[in-house]
Symmetry: C2
Subunit: 338 residues, 2 copies
């Protein structure tokens, strides 16, 4: 029976809520597999109020009908979420972040040294869960993906305050650090729910471009979002000298003099003023270009599913893209985007 098209996005999350409940139970059981001495720390990292985007992608790409929750999908969702949470533990060390999702980061709670090792333990356990599938496929895909995510993060870390980043470089970095795990989540969802390789590859392509769109949106939100709405400290890319699409497009649009001033400010370590940068973005009409880039990725993402319109997961997968579009639209309501 093909799924009924959900009416709204709340509907989408409602439909995967039995899956998320199963994932909660799974994660609580996973905590028990850590050594007793570090179990409390593992629980702290795994018990988050995160958005669980990657598990949602696994569940949606492997949709098998209302209320059908397969153990394989739950386990795969657990694997990708644990990998993601491990990267957050390590990211927060590097960003010297104190707070994430309204509580102390692991680095702040347990110290950066313990957090390095704790992230490692989470990575290891994620791969251990991946090795519990009958074949090596999940291990192979997830370990390669994890390496790529880390490589993308290394590139971004090493190129802070580097203004010679090209659009291709930026694209390459977000491809690795974000789109990679989105891609694998969708591939695994499709594959583990019994779809053929043809559909799994389409889901892979869908996830890849959705991931790129998502990261561009995230970078835009860091510039123009309202903190309360987004739920985290914004302007951090600017503060840490991370060159993302908004600033890259601004650099391309302004006069050579203004460009030189921005570059000097970035290089000198003197952080750019968020309000002033926002105003320049508005004046130069940068927002529209970024939204266009997101829309392009979402279009490629949706097109990948076109030959498979009759498959059970497709309607919900397209909803994921629509949801991101709606989030972008709500950012567009900000004055700087008009």
């Amino acid at each position: 029976m093909p799924p009924q098209p959900p009416r709204d996005f709340a509907g989408l999350f409602e439909r995967v809520s039995p899956h998320m409940a199963a994932l909660d139970r799974f994660m609580r059981t996973e905590v028990e597999h850590f050594e007793p001495e570090i179990r409390g720390m593992a629980a702290y990292c795994l018990d988050t109020s995160g958005k669980r985007l990657r598990p949602t992608m696994v569940f949606v790409s492997g949709w098998q009908g209302e209320g059908v929750v397969s153990d394989d999908l739950v386990r795969a969702a657990g694997v990708v979420e644990m990998v993601h949470l491990a990267t957050l533990v390590h990211d927060d060390i590097m960003d010297r972040a104190e707070i994430r999702r309204n509580r102390r980061t692991a680095a702040r709670e347990f110290g950066p040294d313990a957090a390095v090792l704790l992230g490692d333990a989470l990575f290891s356990q994620a791969l251990h869960v991946a090795s519990q599938f009958p074949t090596t496929e999940v291990c192979r895909l997830v370990s390669e993906s994890t390496r790529k995510v880390c490589s993308g993060e290394i590139m971004q870390t090493l190129r802070r305050r580097d203004i010679n980043i090209s659009l291709a470089d930026y694209r390459r970095m977000i491809d690795l650090k974000t789109a990679e795990l989105f891609r694998v989540s969708c591939f695994l969802g499709a594959r583990l729910s019994g779809h053929d390789l043809e559909f799994a590859r389409a889901a892979d392509r869908f996830g890849h471009h959705l991931g790129i769109a998502y990261q561009i949106y995230d970078d835009l939100a860091d510039f123009v979002g309202e903190e309360q709405r987004i739920g985290k400290t914004l302007g951090t890319d600017l503060a840490t000298g991370k060159l993302t699409l908004p600033l890259m497009l601004l650099l391309e649009s302004v006069s050579p003099e203004e460009r030189a001033a921005i570059i000097a400010s970035l290089r000198g370590g003197q952080p750019l003023d968020l309000a002033a940068s926002r105003q320049r973005m508005q004046e130069m009409g940068i927002g529209a270009g970024i939204v266009r880039a997101i829309d392009e990725e979402l279009a490629i993402s949706a097109a990948a599913l076109k030959p498979h319109a009759e498959r059970a997961p497709v309607a919900l997968m397209l909803q994921l893209g629509e949801m991101l579009k709606a989030q972008v639209a709500s950012l567009q309501a900000a004055p700087v985007m008009r």
Copy 2:
């Protein structure tokens, strides 16, 4: 044909030298699998002049006769060595170590932030190689082992300057942080060279106790060794407040007053003087107790192989234990041990 008993330890290393040459080639090929942007960094970490103890254990436990080098053993050796090198990259961040094996640590060379991620990429690639075996067994064993190694390191990191560590706690920490990967190296060597589970379990037990013996030796060397001979900075455990067996035994032997003074010094963060601690160790005859602990572990280790004396790997495996005994004996030549 059973292997001829090697005459000396140089003989042991000579016999695995074709294996090590194959491992070198394998590691160089592995470097090519990293993203081009981080390949140089990966090469820096993988191209070390390390002792390659864990690969040696894989090769020796899977010994199939003179000059027989199996691809499976080389791959498994690559996996355990990459996991080990990844933990070193992260350890050196925590210890703020600048030099390892006569060159800059990755943390010093690329910065601690990049080193966190680089270690992650090495872990991921190790598991990716593990997933290239036909079954999930290697992935499962290595990922679990890696988690245990990290857990042991976390415990030791969190308990720096904690004088309430019992002998059982110490044993538990070295079990996890060192013996675990030794154990898995021997198990995999035996298993992947076609031995039955019975021998693989004996090899596992051999590796486990050899690992404990090795770590106690390493902790002793940190106290009483000569830097030139050992090839790294010594006295670091004392300097960083890591409570290891030598200091634990010293604390047990001295008068309550002296004990209180040592504890105050540890707690106050004021490092203990290495020369003075060495002298007290000599006066209290601590060395003999430590050597006894090592000998006990080596005896259990050798006993595990007794029922399998006719198997090809056993003579060489026992040589590994003898080699460690000889290293301990050369430490005993130090004045402090007499």
